[in-house]
Symmetry: C2
Subunit: 445 residues, 2 copies
């Protein structure tokens, strides 16, 4: 089966940042097989089954990489907004009571629906019951890294770390060689995993070098204080000592870093994911993205869970990524728009070690792409496509989403999920949450 | 003519923050005449001409107030993105060469199109040839304050301040008693107007207390240095000395303020407009919005020109307003979502002294309202409508926009402007800009 996208403004995000203002892209099966400028060539052997789509000048670009997410948590979206102690007051009690395979499935489906509609084609997730997340992504057609979380705060799916590791092993077995889903191990954070278990994860990881490790790192004052009080050093230094700083470590957040931390991260070639809306909304601070990138580290962009950042597309994150870097740098020069688009695509893919498969439009890669409409007045004039994508485009401008050659959305209609049922299922869970929150409020200190 | 909106999630933004999760709104002529919870009453005397619209549970709320804009500048959108010296390198030379009534008309029409599509019903504008802006807004149906700019940097429409004042007088005459358009005088900024002219504006303003004064204030280091070097005091203190700090002064930006400045502004009861995306993108800093509001000042939200902030709707500004306050405060508590929606509606209207006419859904006010779709998965679950509006809603969720009882958009189609022609006209000007920019690049130092 051949699909030919013609009359497209092709933004490739390849190494030369090639742009074809009028160009074409060819997809055969799961693979992007060719692309170029000008009118599309006549395709030999395409046969009667070839689909030719005139994009009417719209942007065709790589699908975006949401490099840090907790898909199941979309059912918490906006819960306890602006409440400083909501984690202990609402979220942990609700998680203990309600997190189940069914809840994870419902939340993940809502998130998959939103991401496909907003142009995300790859997501890195960490939460509980991750086989459910993997199954939802498989059905919805999303490329995903699914990480079993390990934590010591009585999490919903393991009583102790042995049980947690058993879940990891189950996940790794289930998705070995899967075309879309990559299993992952996800120690929650240094303070909530502990040094001994971090060391055990590092040992396990040395035997499974192809399994990405995801961890929240240098995110909160709580964590920084824990590292200082228990080890007399920075949280990065503790993580290094545990043996976790490796090229397969995906470090989410990375707010509280000094130059020595960044040097250490650079020496060990870890990967970073910035989550600007989540961090901004929590008032936690700004990640030094420019310094990290200048130190040679790939920095992807994550939405975090919808409880923290509310939306799961990447367009909503792009202006914050840019503004935060410019505010840190004190001028409009830092982190130009093209670099922000890079972070949302090929650099995010590199942060997840998926850059050989996805993140740019190049012949031989998987066909993970989106079409972005230029119909809105916001998108005009367009002096620079990267500026338009970062500062003017909305997730709702995405009209079509393809992963591995499969259309997940056409003309704004998601094809792989029942939108009405998915939203209704999530709202049903939210009604239970509301009842329980009212009860929790009556017993609040 | 009666219009009845039924089955609506009515977010009134009135003094009690009344919300009717299932309610109705009645409009007669230009006026919102009644609203309430539950099913809509049978309207006596509505006659056969009454239009009844079932909103299907969508949010109906006040149209938003964009309290600081340069509508004509949409033709500069994204021009010289990330270039630190773009003002002197591109923008001022382009303005000198190309700003004309026709260019102001074309840019303003593009901006009106975008704002109507994004749920803005009131805009405060300042630029040149403002009679064109007023005329565009009248035709498009937007409520507007149009401010003739006065500046000393060889602006495009006046050779000296006498000519500038003549333009102000013309504007005031033209729109006296106009139902939608309020004329305004707009000294550009302290450093670019000068103390003598600021004093002259203050004298003129004392004779015209109903004419709002708009000014960029405490925006840049350049300005702060000017005040210190020429007057040995803060830019707010200089402005006070010139006699401009009055309740009809609308101060845009307000980044570089100390506590004494805020006290002075509070004593004189000025109005403030924060422009978070514009300021963030320029790396200029964060306005102390919480301090200003705690000092009793109304703080509205502005997009600034599309050259600075790229988009002109307010939804794009809401998350940045919130995040910036939380980052300044270091927790998720500051400036709750409800206050951000307040700033975008009734408080913005108060900052423009238009709060008796617009900014909330209350019987007797002008019918300036929007309908916001809840169809997107982003909008679910909805624990709190203000959280959903601030952190999840997009300008593209606005399906219908009404100003003074007139539908400017229905079902996402703007009725008062020809979208295709408006976009084409703006792009035609952008082509001239591109040619001139290429020439300027060849002579750049």
């Amino acid at each position: 089966m051949t699909t030919l996208l013609t009359n497209a403004f092709v933004v490739t995000m390849d190494g030369d940042l090639t742009v074809h203002e009028r160009g074409w892209v060819q997809v055969d099966g799961t693979t992007l097989t060719a692309l170029g400028p000008g009118p599309a060539p006549v395709i030999a052997g395409a046969g009667a089954g070839a689909e030719v789509i005139d994009c009417g000048g719209d942007i065709v670009m790589p699908g975006m990489v949401n490099a840090h997410c907790h898909m199941a948590m979309s059912v918490f979206r906006g819960l306890g907004e602006d409440v400083d102690d909501r984690l202990y007051r609402y979220i942990l009690p609700l998680e203990r009571k309600f997190v189940s395979p069914a809840m994870v499935r419902a939340g993940s489906a809502l998130s998959a629906l939103e991401m496909i509609a907003g142009g995300v084609t790859t997501v890195a997730d960490m939460y509980y019951f991750e086989t459910e997340v993997g199954d939802v992504c498989t059905e919805a057609g999303l490329r995903a890294i699914v990480g079993q979380t390990l934590a010591d705060f009585d999490p919903p799916d393991h009583k102790d770390f042995d049980e947690g590791f058993a879940r990891v092993e189950e996940l790794v077995d289930r998705y070995a060689g899967h075309p879309l889903v990559t299993p992952s191990i996800a120690p929650h954070a240094p303070y909530s995993t502990g040094f001994e278990t971090m060391s055990r994860v590092a040992e396990w990881s040395a035997e499974h070098p192809d399994v990405p490790v995801q961890m929240h790192l240098a995110e909160s004052t709580l964590e920084v204080n824990w590292a200082r009080d228990t080890h007399g050093k920075s949280t990065i230094a503790v993580t290094a000592e545990a043996g976790l700083l490796k090229p397969n470590l995906i470090c989410a957040h990375c707010l509280q870093l000094d130059d020595a931390d960044i040097r250490m991260m650079s020496e060990h070639q870890v990967c970073v994911v910035t989550n600007p809306r989540s961090n901004g909304k929590a008032g936690r601070g700004i990640s030094p993205v420019e310094k990290l990138r200048n130190a040679g580290l790939p920095v992807g962009i994550g939405s975090d869970g919808a409880m923290s950042g509310n939306t799961l597309d990447l367009f909503s994150q792009l202006a914050p990524v840019s503004m935060f870097a410019k505010l840190l740098g004190g001028s409009r020069k830092p982190l130009p728009a093209v670099d922000v688009v890079r972070m949302a695509s090929i650099e995010g893919a590199r942060a997840l070690s998926l850059n050989l498969k996805t993140g740019s439009l190049e012949a031989g890669k998987q066909a993970d792409l989106i079409r972005v409409s230029l119909a809105a007045p916001r998108m005009h004039p367009m002096y620079d496509p990267y500026s338009a994508l970062v500062f003017a485009a909305l997730p709702s401008d995405v009209t079509d989403t393809m992963v591995a050659g499969r259309w997940l959305m056409r003309d704004r209609k998601v094809l792989t999920l029942d939108a009405t049922k998915t939203i209704a299922d999530a709202n049903q869970i939210a009604r239970q949450f509301k009842t329980e929150m009212a009860r929790l409020d009556t017993i609040a200190p």
